[in-house]
């Protein structure tokens, strides 16, 4: 596939890696270290803004939510401890939740339907030109999504990247709620096993 062999090292490295330890930075932030917070911003903002933008769509609102998330990380840094997981997971959990809350509180859910619905199903990665993630990460996720059944993949993508509740997914796909819950869980478990819990 493709006319030349692509090696992982050729992927763009716009996100510093491995580089600074997010967990250590976040613990310094908890003590009010602004320099550490600035480094944490650089480390996290690509993934945070990216997932928010994917869900919220509107660039201005996406920036607002991204700022709210970074401020919340600053404010609540003392609650983080390494046994709770990586700083990235901590931050992404906050970001995803806030992005989903933002779109769900928007009145015009009908607009969301027509703008987002079917497009999400077809191509989860449609903004290739703006990607700062490594090709490798993106390919791994794409490949592992490919190991899911169609229903599992569509459910997971609608839920995660589309910010849909499992009830909305059920309605969109015309599938019973119990089945959707199971597909979301099975799909994530399959992704976990494929991607590895590193």
């Amino acid at each position: 596939m493709g006319d030349r062999v692509r090696r992982p090292q050729e992927a763009a490295h716009a996100v510093p890696r491995p580089g600074p330890d997010g967990s250590a930075l976040l613990q310094r932030v908890a003590r009010g270290d602004e320099a550490a917070f600035e480094q944490l911003y650089d480390l996290l903002i690509g993934p945070l803004y990216g997932v928010i933008r994917r869900i919220v769509r509107d660039p201005a609102q996406s920036e607002e939510v991204a700022q709210e998330v970074m401020v919340e990380l600053w404010r609540t840094a003392a609650r983080y401890s390494p046994e709770r997981g990586s700083a990235m997971t901590w931050a992404m959990t906050v970001a995803h939740r806030r992005a989903v809350d933002r779109v769900r509180s928007a009145q015009a859910s009908a607009d969301r339907e027509e703008n987002v619905g079917r497009r999400q199903l077809a191509r989860p990665f449609d903004e290739v030109s703006e990607q700062v993630t490594t090709r490798l990460e993106q390919e791994q996720v794409r490949r592992c999504l490919g190991t899911l059944t169609d229903l599992q993949r569509e459910s997971v993508v609608l839920a995660y990247y589309g910010g849909r509740s499992y009830r909305e997914v059920g309605e969109l796909l015309g599938t019973p709620l119990g089945t959707i819950k199971t597909r979301l869980r099975d799909g994530l478990i399959r992704l976990r096993d494929c991607l590895g819990v590193a």
Binding site: E38, I45, P47, R53, M70, R75, R79, G85, Y161, I189
Partner: protein
């Protein structure tokens, strides 16, 4: 239903649940080790899904963020927000009779129907201790506002530098919003915590400083770093 709740781990991790379902599932997580472990692992997986979508924001965002954090106070390590609802029915028995006597006398003196209005089930040991500390301080003050459709009571002592905000039967906030309490000093407002479901709840505030007011606002779910302009309730402190 028991089998059903375990199946919610995927939907929960993907934020594909309603606020109520999330609250219920988080209660379940405290009791189900297997689900807690699964959630921990699946969160890492979801993070990888998110990372694959990474996009650089406009560079100006960074300066905006750095400017704002300089105005935001960080929460202390011991969260002084205690949301609600963990029945600890034995605390009343464990209180010493002296402390109980102080509470009763102080409550009677202040004319506050705190003890009557609140179940032991709604108040943790730490809050009971804070209540005793405040009520036995020489400068304890109480202010209360509301009726059978919701009441907010503030109990504080400047000398003890402690405050309890006691909500009783607050109406549930609108979907997508939480009540947030603030201590206000002039133009400066500091979050005292969230009352996500309204109802009956207690917030403990340490470090009142020179706050002259307490305000309650409606904020987006999860709270805000600055209060929105409209106060749902407002109390002046002496």
């Amino acid at each position: 239903m028991t089998a059903d709740v375990h199946a919610l781990t995927g939907a929960y991790v993907l934020d594909a649940v309603s606020d109520r379902e999330r609250d219920e599932f988080e209660r379940h997580l405290r009791e189900c080790e297997a689900c807690a472990q699964e959630v921990y692992e699946l969160r890492e997986t979801a993070t990888k899904l998110g990372r694959a979508a990474a996009v650089a924001p406009p560079p100006a965002l960074k300066a905006s963020v750095m400017a704002q954090i300089r105005t935001v106070r960080q929460d202390p390590p011991q969260a002084s927000v205690t949301p609600l609802r963990r029945p600890r029915s034995s605390w009343a028995l464990r209180m010493t009779s002296a402390a109980a006597a102080v509470l009763l006398v102080a409550a009677t003196f202040l004319g506050v129907l705190l003890v009557r209005a609140r179940d032991a089930a709604d108040t943790s040991e730490a809050q009971a201790s804070a209540m005793a500390t405040i009520l036995s301080a020489g400068d304890a003050q109480v202010t209360s506002e509301g009726d059978e459709n919701g009441r907010m009571t503030i109990l504080m002592s400047r000398s003890a530098d402690r405050m309890l905000l006691l909500a009783d039967d607050l109406p549930a906030p609108p979907e997508g919003q939480d009540y947030q309490a603030w201590t206000i000093t002039g133009d400066d407002a500091r979050s005292a915590g969230l009352l996500p479901d309204g109802g009956t709840a207690t917030l403990e505030v340490d470090d009142i400083g020179s706050a002259t007011q307490v305000g309650i606002t409606l904020e987006p779910t999860g709270g805000s770093s600055r209060p929105s302009p409209d106060l749902v309730m407002e109390f002046d402190l002496s």
